[in-house]
């Protein structure tokens, strides 16, 4: 069995709360964070709703830093800072930072375009301000956080669409096991609620077009009446340390990362492989690295995007891995209340899974009123359920056929 990687801290910013207590409470009680969008004018958009975060970056960043960066940076800085609140380093510790983001700087670029749209038409490239590049390069949010927290170890940005921050955790764990770092911060962020980013997804017909009045019921993973994902912004971060390093000094351990798996459908830019075979491979690899058998998994945190294609393909993938027993494993889809935070969804759902294991309560998949006949697993519909869980899988599947999964376990 591979060295256990322990999770010794977590922080997040989500539309259902910016602290673990509120986040967990709203997940368990099924309180959706999806509202009518206010970030931009949606009157001309088919998308009307999303998961927005009420964040004042000046509460934790200087005004200068706020001005020189963008919301992408702000969210990441908040989540990582919170995760690091109780981090205690030894002299000489090498700290790594691995950040997953589906859009990377894409949303920042979109925001820059939006800011300068009128001037771009008349001035061309000269309309961009001189610091635009420091905001839009995909690595710059991680670099900014590393600068502020004096992180001098590996500082990496991973972009694999919706699998980004799950991959970030896996890569961070690998850095620890290879001793390239003593402590690793794995994080995820996406701030993509702007007209340019969402315009693209509207063109793909990938988002829910439910009206504003139906915001709270629009994200309906595995439900017959789902009509697309509901975008949300979000950021999360976890602190990872090797169990074998014996670093524990009374810190609270949230759980353990036992395994990680990754695969690529290599088939279609946006549609998942229908039979779920390669997505299943990612889950199987996460199990293999953990040393656990599929029969030891007692919970699955699904990707569950509320899109017609993902939810069916994912169901097939899970059945491939877990066989007939799959129908007895309680599954949950956090996006039913969180919305889809793009590359940040993986880290947020990982944190949710760790909290699920610790509490022995599976959060509900809300809005699952009428299951799609092709989605016939136990998705814990509508109400939370108590269940002793020792080990769980969390999985995410993104555009480009990017698949990633983690095997998570209780702290002891």
């Amino acid at each position: 069995m591979t060295d256990r990687i322990l999770v010794t801290g977590a922080g997040l910013e989500t539309c259902i709360g910016g602290d673990l207590t509120a986040f967990w409470r709203n997940l368990v009680e099924g309180h959706s964070g999806i509202r009518p969008l206010t970030s931009f004018d949606t009157s001309d958009f088919p998308l009307k709703i999303g998961g927005e975060i009420d964040l004042d970056p000046t509460a934790f960043m200087s005004r200068t830093d706020v001005r020189r960066t963008c919301r992408h940076h702000h969210l990441l800085m908040s989540a990582v800072s919170k995760a690091c609140e109780r981090l205690s380093l030894r002299s000489g510790d090498v700290v790594a930072l691995v950040v997953g983001s589906g859009g990377g700087g894409e949303a920042a670029m979109a925001a820059e375009f939006g800011k300068h749209a009128e001037r771009l038409a008349t001035q061309g490239w000269r309309a961009f301000d001189r610091l635009a590049v420091t905001r839009v390069l995909p690595n710059m949010a991680a670099a900014f956080v590393a600068d502020k927290l004096r992180i001098h170890g590996p500082c990496l940005t991973v972009t694999t669409a919706c699998a980004s921050s799950t991959d970030a955790v896996g890569i961070a764990a690998a850095l620890l096991r290879s001793k390239a770092a003593d402590v690793a911060i794995a994080a995820g962020v996406d701030a993509w609620l702007n007209p340019y980013s969402q315009g693209g997804f509207c063109k793909l017909q990938a988002v829910s077009t439910r009206p504003a009045a139906e915001a709270a019921i629009a994200s309906r993973p595995f439900d017959r009446d789902r009509d697309g994902m509901v975008p949300a912004e979000g950021a999360g971060a976890v602190i990872l340390e090797r169990d074998s390093a014996g670093r524990l000094r009374g810190e609270e351990v949230l759980g353990a990362v036992l395994g990680y798996g990754s695969s690529c459908d290599a088939e279609h830019p946006v549609m998942p492989r229908a039979d779920g075979a390669i997505a299943a491979a990612a889950v199987q690899r996460a199990l293999a690295q953990s040393g656990l058998g599929s029969d030891e998994i007692e919970h699955i945190n699904a990707h569950g995007t509320s899109t017609p294609l993902n939810d069916v393909a994912e169901t097939r993938a899970l059945k491939r891995v877990f066989g007939p027993r799959c129908a007895q494993i309680p599954v949950t889809a956090n996006k039913s209340v969180l919305g889809h935070a793009s590359g940040a969804c993986g880290i947020l759902e990982m944190i949710a899974t760790l909290l699920t294991i610790r509490a022995g309560v599976v959060p509900p998949t809300v809005n699952l009123d009428n299951p799609d006949p092709e989605c016939d697993l136990d998705y814990t519909p509508l109400a939370a359920r108590e269940r002793t869980i020792r080990a769980a899988i969390t999985c995410n599947f993104g555009f480009g056929g990017q698949n990633a999964a983690l095997t998570l376990a209780a702290a002891d």
Binding site: S62, R63, T64, D65, R67, R68, R119, R126, D129, R130, L131
Partner: protein, 100 residues
Amino acid sequence: MTTRDSRVPTMEDVLEDVTKFLTELLADREIEPAPVIGPDTLLFDADGSGAATLELDSLDALDLISALEGEYGIEVPGEIVFATIRTVEDIAKVVVSIVQ
């Protein structure tokens, strides 16, 4: 920066904007005592004259220029920024000359 009317900004207008920007920038750094910013205040390195310097770095310079370019809809040639600008008044003169 303040939103001005359509008139061409004067030297006083630009000095006020530059001073306000720099005051806010330096306030974030919590320097004690707070530096006094005047037209002759050096922006970057000391010049041996004993004049006060704000010790701005290259990122600060880009930030300041970017703000002024955005405020006045101008482009400040890069060679001017680091070659000729030493004081608060210098940057204001460059902006005024471009705008006018």
